[in-house]
Every structure is written in structure tokens, then in C-alpha cells.
């Protein structure tokens, strides 16, 4: 995408987010539907429809960061970035019949990458406006699951629904091992990017608050204890941003296994640092951030659940300490 075009797309997304940001966790279905229509109206679904795609992975990752900055009840990750990329990869190898439904992705009930058995317990993640969910097996098989009722989640703005195989079982195609690696790397990077945006924005908002809020006759941002807290949160956010943006660049320019390794590093950093950054911001806001009305818990809920989405930190750290040998090993996380 040309630089100017990217700037315009990002501005449009920013304007959408400003219009539809949620101030509370209580969002009615009518509101959600209106917001999703407005988001869909931006045409971002086209960004990765074709091959080569209109937008690079790095551009999509920066858009995911932008999206993550505001509390929103729409689906961008699942239905715009994650599931369409599966369909695009299937189309590349020609192993995919036209698929008319609007899917999001299926994850295990604890929100991890799906594994071997499609009849296991699954949910459709980030399912606002979705009509089905794509299940991606360890062997690359892609199935369409049907959606059921709402599933429990603590990330209150994010819609999660039950998902189960239909009859007959609907296999859409199969990703080759490199494509599966590429998709998992893609998913890790996009989810991480959204969390980076959330953490960065929340730290900025708490920093602004520290400039204004006075106690003992001076702004709390003049107290060294507060300054150092925010400085550490800033370092944490910068570490996350560097890791995710580099991993996104790898998606565009490196082999899938390299991209997956970089994506894991990014997710492992974000899982810890984005949460810590939000903790720091909440501490700066103090008592007000502990209330239902304040937006702090919306950010906390997003990053805290996000830190376990797709894969958990413990699995990532083990995989990074003991990388598998052999050129074509594709692991579950």
C-alpha cells in the first residue's frame, strides 16, 4: 500500500474507533450491530482478500494496534484479519471451494489454537457479525463449524459463541505445513498487535491523568514513584511494539518458520509486558480505576484474556528454550 493510502486507511479506522468506543461494558446488541456495520463499511475485509494482498502484514499489524487502542465491541481480529487469511491461503493452493459464509476462527474452550480433533469442545472467538467459524487442525485441515449460543468470557466486549461441527462435516480444504506455520504466525502477530495498542493507549491515558491529577498540592506525575512506574510501563510497551512490528515484517519477508519464531517471541513478550503496563496504568489512576464505570477494567480484561489467547506463556517459553529440531516440524502453539 502507498504510504498515503495507508495513512488514510488508518485515519478512517481511528475515526470509526472514536465514534464507537465503549465507555462501559454494557453494550446492547443494536449498538454492536450498528458499530459492526460501520466497521464493515470501511472495506478492510478487502485488505487481504487477493494474492498478493493489498496490505502487507506489517500494515495490518499496525491497523490491529490502532484498533486495540479503544475499547470496542466489534469484531476486527476474528472476522477481518484471522479467518479471511485462512481462506486466502487456501485459495493460493487452489484447495478451496468458494465459501460464501462470513467466518471467524474457532479456538479451544480455553481460547487456544485448535488441535487434532474437530469434535472436541470449541468456541467461535471474536464472533460479532460472524456466520460460522473456521477450525484449523494440526494437519492443516480447515473445517467450517456452525455457531451456537453465547459462551462465557471475561473479556466482556468480545463476543464468544459455542461452535460445533455441522452435519455433514464440512471440510473446506487443507493448508500445507508452511501455510499452517504462516497462518499461526499471522494470528499470533495480529492478536499481539491488538494488545500492544491497548497497553500503549492505556499507558498514555494514565500518563495524561498523572499530569492533571493533583494530590498534596502538586500533580501526582511529579512524584518520582509515579514517574518511575510510568517510565517502566513505557519501556514495557516499547518492547512489545518492537517485537510485534518486527514479527509482522518477518511475515512479509521471511520464511514461515522464521516468522513463527518471531511471532512467538512477540506474543511471549506481550503476554507479560502488556498486562504489566496496564497494571501500572491502573495503579496511577488509583481508586477510580477499580470501579465498574471506569474504562480501566475493559483494558485489563482485554489484555488479561489476550495473554492466554492462541497460546499460553508457559508453552511459549518452553518452545523458545527448546526449539524443535528438523526443518518441517509444526507444533501446536
Amino acid at each position: 500500500m502507498e504510504a498515503e493510502e495507508f495513512r488514510l486507511v488508518r485515519e478512517a479506522l481511528r475515526a470509526f474507533a472514536a465514534d464507537h468506543r465503549c465507555d462501559t461494558a454494557e453494550v446492547g446488541q443494536a449498538e454492536r450491530t450498528t458499530a459492526q456495520k460501520s466497521l464493515d463499511g470501511l472495506g478492510l475485509g478487502e485488505l487481504r482478500r487477493s494474492t498478493p494482498p493489498l496490505a502487507s502484514a506489517q500494515e495490518c499489524a499496525l491497523l490491529a494496534e490502532e484498533y486495540g487502542r479503544q475499547p470496542l465491541a466489534t469484531s476486527f481480529l476474528g472476522t477481518v484479519l484471522l479467518a479471511p487469511e485462512v481462506l486466502r491461503l487456501l485459495a493460493v493452493t487452489g484447495r478451496h471451494a468458494p465459501y460464501e459464509s462470513r467466518p471467524t476462527v474457532a479456538l479451544t474452550r480455553d481460547l487456544r489454537f485448535t488441535g487434532r480433533y474437530s469434535d472436541a469442545d470449541h468456541v467461535a472467538w471474536d464472533a460479532e457479525g460472524a456466520e460460522s467459524a473456521l477450525w484449523i487442525g494440526d494437519d492443516g485441515t480447515v473445517r467450517a463449524l456452525e455457531l451456537g449460543g453465547p459462551a462465557p468470557t471475561t473479556d466482556l466486549l468480545r463476543v464468544v459463541r459455542e461452535a460445533h461441527p455441522g452435519t455433514p462435516d464440512s471440510v473446506l480444504g487443507r493448508l500445507v505445513p508452511e501455510q499452517l506455520q504462516a497462518w499461526r504466525a499471522w494470528a499470533l502477530v495480529m492478536v499481539s498487535s491488538e494488545l500492544v495498542g491497548a497497553a500503549a493507549s492505556f499507558v498514555e491515558q494514565s500518563t495524561a491523568y498523572a499530569r492533571d491529577r493533583s494530590q498534596y498540592g502538586r500533580p501526582i506525575g511529579s512524584f518520582q514513584a509515579v514517574r518511575h512506574l510510568l517510565a517502566d510501563a513505557t519501556v514495557a510497551v516499547e518492547a512489545c511494539a518492537s517485537a510485534t512490528r518486527y514479527a509482522a515484517w518477518c511475515l512479509d519477508h521471511a520464511a514461515p518458520d522464521t516468522a513463527l519464531a518471531a511471532a512467538r517471541v512477540a506474543k511471549a513478550e506481550v503476554d507479560v509486558s502488556a498486562v504489566e503496563a496496564v497494571y501500572a496504568g491502573m495503579q496511577v489512576f488509583g481508586g477510580i480505576a477499580q470501579t465498574w464505570e471506569h474504562m480501566a477494567h475493559l483494558y485489563l480484561r482485554r489484555v488479561r484474556v489476550g495473554a492466554t489467547v492462541l497460546t499460553g506463556t508457559a508453552d511459549l517459553l518452553t518452545a523458545l528454550a527448546l526449539p524443535p529440531s528438523g526443518p518441517h516440524v509444526v507444533e501446536a502453539s
Binding site: A210, H228, A239, W249, V265
Partner: protein, 383 residues
């Protein structure tokens, strides 16, 4: 995210790749020197400095007329990277001094001092810190009194942490030239020859046994006006330029060093999976993350420079990330390689001790946080 956060090119430009290949070829023809039995580290490093210079591998970002190669900081980064990757000692630690001289010296001084600095004919050290002024440079009390006729200065005072002063020919010295004015306008820089009468150098033994750090005593040391660098009062901005380079993420020699140690830790996990408690696998994984994040962060900084964004106070972020990676890595190394914990004088234990200094030298971690709060976050000051 600001509007500055646009897609960046994290890859190496093509000519950098060529330079890397050129250096690799040169290194195969010029094997690394071996440290002789009992040879002081500084002398060994000096031999290495001269060897590198003979191949044109010192001062890549210094203009050719001063003995460099007239390339960019990124070329210097690539050299640092390659040397680390082949376990060579790093590039000579003169980059930040050379930049200070380039920016603040007169043309005549640049021509006289820089080529000899780059070639290793003159060895330089840095005389900034004092017993009463570490991170708080403004508290400096070394005083340079101008003679009544204005022809020279007499300097009195004491400096501390002047690395390898006992092996050096010159010191980039900071001293006050006005006791009444605020630090930002009253500190002046000098190129002080260390063989000058009145200079006493006393090495300190560091916690790891090395004799890197020195004290420098200055008793009525006479320096000429043309040994002053820049104008009176330029010492403060010179110091700020210097420390920004010192904290920069772009000096990547240490990155390769971390990478090699990490490989050793991973090998240990692979080969002796049952000898270590489970938690250590995660601990090593965490070090891998720290290290790879630092690599990504450095690439981001490089890409930002290439995209034309100048370096600034965000070098404090870089330094804190570097400190995090280094201190956790050596801490973990002693747990994964327990025999190293009991080998005083061993390389890993020595580097472990040195890693504790990472949060102190070049401005303490607390000072870096102050800088981030003030200059990046624009938080109000206490007054």
C-alpha cells in the same frame, strides 16, 4: 501510537550485506589474536584495535578525511554484529568519543586527534564522573582556572571510573570553568594528555578482579587553550551527546555475546534435560524472549534511522531493555551452569559480576527512568 509509527523496513540494506561479506572474508584471512599469558586485557584489546584498523574496520561512520570510511552508523552496527557473532572481542570502544570530537572540536583538532584515535596510535579514556558526581554530572567540582593572561588553564580535582586510564594517552576531560554559573553553561571539555605534569592515575580493582576502572588525580595540571574542546560551557552538551551514543541500542557487539551464551544454555537444557529443575526451562525461555526482543528493538531503531528519524532521549528505553536482558541472562546462566557459580575468575562469573554494573554505568536505571518521565512522557517536575 503516533503518526510516526509507519511501516518500516527491518531488513538490511543491500550494501550492508556486502560489507558483512567483505568483513567475513577479511576475518578468515586475519585470524583473531590470542590473549597472551598474563597479558592485561587493555593491551590485548589494543592489539586487536590495531589489527582491525589495518583492515579499515574502525570508525566506519567517521568521515574519510579523519581516517574513517565515511559510511553510516548502520555500517558500524553491522561490523559490531559480525565481530560478536564470531566471538571476536568487540569493536574498540571509541565510537562515542569520536562522535564527541567530531561534533565539538575545531577543524584543526579534528585533523590532529581523530586519525590517531581511530588507528590506536593514541588511546583515549573518558574523564566525566567524580567521587561526588556520578549520574548527577552537574555536581562536578573539578575546576579549570583560566590564567590571568588567558593563555592556559590550571586544573585541579579528581575523576573516577575512567576506564583503562593507565593504558591511555589522552583523556576527554570535563571540568568547570565557572564555579558560580549553573552546570549546563559552566562545564568545559579538554583533550588532556595523560603524561602531563600533575596527573596521577591509580587503577581500582573491580569486583570481578579486573583493573578497568581508574581514579585520576589532577594537581595544578596546566592545559593550553587550544587543548580545550569547543567553547567554554560546551562540556554539558558534549556530555549529553556522548551518553546518548553510549546508551544507544545500536552498538550491537554485546548482542552477539548474549546470543552465544544463550546457545550454550539451550545446549545444556537439550543435553542434560533431567539434570535441571523444570522452572529453569522457562527461565531460559524468558532469556530467549529478552534477547530476541532486544534484537527486534535494535532493528527497529536501525530502521527508524534509515527512515530519517533522529536519535533522542528514547536511548534511555534502549538502555533499560539492554540492562533487563543482560542481568536476567547472567543470573539465569549461573543457575543453568552451576559449576560457573563457583569458578571465580571464570568468564561467565566475571561477566555476571559485570552485568550488575549495567544498571549503574552510563547513567543508572533510575536516571534513565527520570529521563523517560521528563523527556518522553513530559510529566511535570517536582518544582
Amino acid at each position: 501510537m503516533t503518526d510516526h509509527d509507519v511501516p518500516l523496513d527491518f531488513g538490511d540494506p543491500a550494501d550492508l550485506d556486502m560489507l558483512r561479506r567483505e568483513l567475513r572474508a577479511w576475518l578468515t584471512e586475519h585470524p583473531l589474536p590470542r590473549r597472551r599469558n598474563g597479558e592485561p586485557m587493555a593491551e590485548f584489546l589494543h592489539r586487536w584495535h590495531r589489527q582491525l584498523h589495518s583492515g579499515g574496520w574502525v570508525g566506519l561512520d567517521v568521515p574519510e578525511r579523519y581516517g574513517g570510511r565515511g559510511l553510516t552508523a548502520l555500517h558500524q552496527v553491522a561490523v559490531s554484529d559480525e565481530l560478536g557473532a564470531c566471538r571476536a572481542p568487540g569493536v574498540p570502544r571509541i565510537g562515542y568519543l569520536a562522535h564527541a570530537l567530531l561534533e565539538f572540536c575545531s577543524e584543526d583538532q579534528r585533523a590532529r586527534l581523530l586519525p590517531r584515535m581511530l588507528s590506536g596510535d593514541d588511546v583515549w579514556c573518558q574523564g566525566f564522573s567524580e567521587p561526588g558526581a556520578g549520574s548527577d554530572l552537574a555536581g562536578m567540582s573539578t575546576y579549570a582556572r583560566r590564567s590571568p593572561d588567558g593563555g592556559h588553564y590550571l586544573i585541579n580535582g579528581q575523576k573516577l571510573w575512567t576506564s583503562y586510564a593507565q593504558y591511555s594517552d589522552y583523556c576527554l576531560l570535563l571540568a568547570r570553568t565557572d564555579r558560580a554559573a549553573p552546570a549546563h553553561s559552566s562545564i568545559t571539555a579538554f583533550a588532556l594528555p595523560l603524561n602531563r605534569a600533575g596527573v596521577t592515575v591509580r587503577p581500582l580493582r573491580a569486583a570481578n578482579g579486573d583493573d578497568e576502572f581508574c581514579e585520576l588525580f589532577l594537581d595544578d595540571v596546566r592545559v593550553a587553550v587550544d587543548e580545550r574542546i569547543g567553547a567554554e560551557g560546551d562540556g554539558w552538551p558534549l556530555a549529553m551527546t556522548t551518553v546518548n551514543y553510549e546508551r544507544n541500542a545500536l552498538d550491537t557487539g554485546h548482542l552477539s555475546k548474549y546470543g552465544l551464551l544463550l546457545e550454550r544454555l539451550r545446549r545444556q537444557l537439550r543435553e542434560h534435560p533431567d539434570a535441571l529443575p523444570d522452572g529453569l526451562v522457562s527461565a531460559v525461555g524468558r532469556c530467549v524472549v529478552d534477547y530476541q526482543v532486544l534484537v527486534a528493538h535494535t532493528r527497529r531503531r536501525t530502521a527508524e534511522r534509515l527512515a530519517g528519524r533522529p536519535a533522542g532521549p528514547e536511548s534511555s528505553v534502549d538502555k533499560l531493555l539492554m540492562t533487563r536482558a543482560e542481568q536476567r541472562l547472567y543470573e539465569t546462566a549461573l543457575a543453568v551452569l552451576p559449576e560457573e557459580l563457583h569458578r571465580d575468575g571464570g568468564a561467565v562469573y566475571g561477566e555476571y559480576l559485570y552485568s550488575r554494573a549495567a544498571s549503574v554505568y552510563g547513567g543508572t536505571s533510575q536516571i534513565q527512568r527520570n529521563i523517560i518521565a521528563k523527556r518522553l512522557l513530559h510529566l511535570p517536575s517536582a518544582s
